[in-house]
Amino acid sequence: MSGPQTIFDKPNTYIGKSVPRADAVRLTQGRGKYVDDIQLPRMLHAAFVRSPVAHGRIVSINVSEAKAVPGVTAVFTGADFVGQVEPYVGVLSHLAGLRSAPQMPLAVDVARWTGEPLVMVVASSRAIAEDAAALVEIDIEELDPATDMERALDADAPVIHAEFGSNLAWERLVEAGNPDAAFARDDVTVVERRFRFGRHTGVTLETRASVVEYDPSERMLTYWYSGQAPHMMQFILAKHLGLPEENVRVVSQDVGGSFGIKIHTYGDDIATAAAAKILGRPVKFVADRLESFLTDIHARDHVVDGRIAVTADGKIAALAFDDVTGIGPYSMYPRTSAIEANQVLNLTGAPYLIEHYRARARVVFQNKNMMCQYRAVGHPIAMAVADGLLEDAANEIGMDVVEIRRRNLVRDDAYPTVSATGMKFDDLSHHKSLDRLVEMMDYDARRAEHARLRKEGIHRGIGLVSMVEVTNPSPMFYGIGGAPIASQDGTTIRLEAGGAIHVSSSVTEQGQGTNAILAQIAAGVFGVPLDRVKVTTGDTRSTPYGGGTWASRGAGIGGEATLQAAHALKQQVLEVAATILQSTPDKFDIVDGHVVDADGGPPRMSLSDLARTVYYRGNELPSDLSPELVATRHYRVSDFPFVFTNGAMAAEVELDPETGFVKVLNFWAVEDCGRVINPQLVDGQIRGGVVQGIGGAFYEECIYSEDGQLENATMADYLVPMAFEMPDIFVAHVETPTKTSVLGAKGAGEAGTGGAPAALMNAVNDALRPLGASIHQMPMTPERVLKALGTV
């Protein structure tokens, strides 16, 4: 990459510094602006009647009593939106063979999961809307549900979409080398395991929410939503509500957590927009917690049969697995529900040198809520299968789990490489990260301590994971398949008359600190104090066009666009300064808001003097000089489908064989996310991610009955990690900047969630092994641990 390489050494750079986030101050004072805080004149409130059954034909709907409730403005059924909303289908062309059926915001004739919206009531308050919703009479003829994904492909399973003839949504086989021959070798040890990964969900503390205003006089729809991808939603709303794209404005202000939950198209949100358009009045919908559990996308839900063959000296001879995953009755729109399985195929074993590989995934429809992309898409499955098999195999051949990794991890000096699955890797540091991890956790001493404690009846275990993480996706992720999802992002920076700069960028903020790191990059590269930078994100009207923040792309892609824009603006300013000061641009620099001589010395002029000269007193400038003092740059990853990062993590647990309880004593994470822009923010991402991984490993599960009822849809019944159970998490960094950008930043947001479950499962198995037991099912609840021990 060409560009200002010296920016990282500048005295006023903020890159690499843990400066506090500007946004944090107002959020501690109750000054956040979340969607439910919005009150508009004449605003109405929506409530939904949802399917009480997992599969049923809608025979009749009677809304007359609901409509008669004072305060009710309108009641919509699925049929009322036919012709008002264009149906949507969650398929992409690069996922060959993926199929899904058209969806409407409210089910029209058949309900296919418990919680699917059927009727929408719009009233002067949410309470009245709920009162009226309770009076809607729906006659549903129950149909046999197909809930169990492992039986959904059986010949006698109820077929959810008759036109497809089966419940298979997508299937893909990846094969490299000759795995059959490798497994058949007589000098290898083969380990086989069945892994089960339960369904869980995001549990964003702020539920999904939207406020939609439609002005019929200008045919202008404004959609405030708690979400991550404003421009994607602009396209979707325009297309499916029949509006020109430019007549849709999407705004995301403060977002109370997202984690991938809020990048999808939900029927109740689309219905809210449709109702606002039909009624010509603002409509608000805020999901309650029950609605969130029933309809926020769920994640994982895989059964994987995996096999590994290793030689006596610990080399992986072959890896193979078969993955079945249940996605609910539709593939989610527009990102599809096949991406997770695709990631599992691509990423399993990716840190290791593997020649012989076979992986099959089958993605099946079932009568449960939809499954789709949630933080660390596919990663926890890929890492747990590969590293679970690897650690079990190491124990079979009597080799230490660190040693077996050292013998198989791709060498740090081997890059660029291509994996067995065709993934292109560069700038990774598996060995360096593992070495750092082993040192940080004092691995050998801890092993010795565990052996000693075991004699005292204390059962501790250590488990590791070496991982890769998909970050900074290129157009190959979604755009190539026809999704309205930008892979490039843009940043505009303008010099204000007062000498400050204003940054507006198409990446978005959901708490990870996007706005803060954009400010740090802009301030440092351009040359103003950090408090002279204002940042706007999350508004299609005022930011450049882009994808938003997901797949760990905010820093790597938005950050690079910001770096380039700041550099370009600086060149403009230096050109003006050179004209005013009668020299050439290369003789000057910008430091702390002032133009200075490049070789040091006192300030020559302030940026406000320069800006006011340009904006107010253009007469003082030569007539052939017409400065813009605003620069926009866009950036996309073009040489690789993704910029992979890597990390190494370890967990230490203590098991109580009497109760099955597992306590996480310690967790260590070494992450190589390239150049670290703000260490404190990156550490926050790692720790928060690890804790979500601990949730998936031990606590979180959407428990369905056989007939498709979600049985634990409250926060009292669905367990999430709370402060008391969580350990302190030790974080260290290895910095191998990506060569795909000047900034060199890769993503860091998903590492913890992707890697922690594998390390935790390995740690539990390390503790269980002397007791002759093992567990390969998540969450690893006390009951399952006791079952593994054979005591219940």
Partner: protein, 159 residues
């Protein structure tokens, strides 16, 4: 269901009198009627802690109390703490430690942390974690929150 009662109460030092639906919970009243949107609604059944606020000197869940039960009460919300300066060191510590990401749990988390600090809680990480275990945070992993509370306790002990 639509029955109302008139209540008078003092919120963040200001007294107001309003007719409230008898079924309305306190946090909805504060948010929707008084415009105090700093208190957040996360679960509406007393589990997540996002709506934690102070009523007559005790930290309570704003979703588990009806507005009519607050007749005559003295209430402080996150906005009131910010205006009065109470807990300013705690808010600063949250900023310094980045003990918040999305900020949605923060008003309730601050209230529970303030209860611990003002109640004479010591800088014991396990005890802090236990005290804060009624407040759900999905973003931080809690560690930075514990760090911030320890900083404040240590800071108050020094001064």
């Amino acid at each position: 269901m639509h029955e109302t009662r008139t209540i008078s109460l003092t919120v963040n030092g200001e007294t107001s009198t309003n007719a409230v639906p008898v079924r309305q919970n306190l946090v909805d009243f504060l948010r929707n009627t008084l415009g105090l949107t700093g208190s957040h609604v996360g679960c509406e059944h007393g589990v997540c802690g996002a709506c934690t606020l102070e009523v007559n000197g005790a930290m309570v869940r704003g979703c588990l109390m009806l507005a009519v039960q607050a007749d005559g009460a003295e209430i402080t919300t996150v906005e009131g703490f910010a205006d009065s300066g109470r807990g300013a060191d705690l808010r600063q510590a949250f900023v310094d430690r980045n003990a918040l990401q999305c900020g949605y749990c923060t008003p309730g988390m601050l209230a529970s942390a303030l209860e611990y600090v003002e109640g004479g809680g010591v800088a014991d990480r396990s005890a802090i974690r236990e005290h804060l275990s009624g407040n759900y945070c999905r973003c931080t992993g809690y560690q930075s929150i514990v760090d911030a509370v320890c900083d404040v306790i240590d800071g108050r002990a020094r001064s």
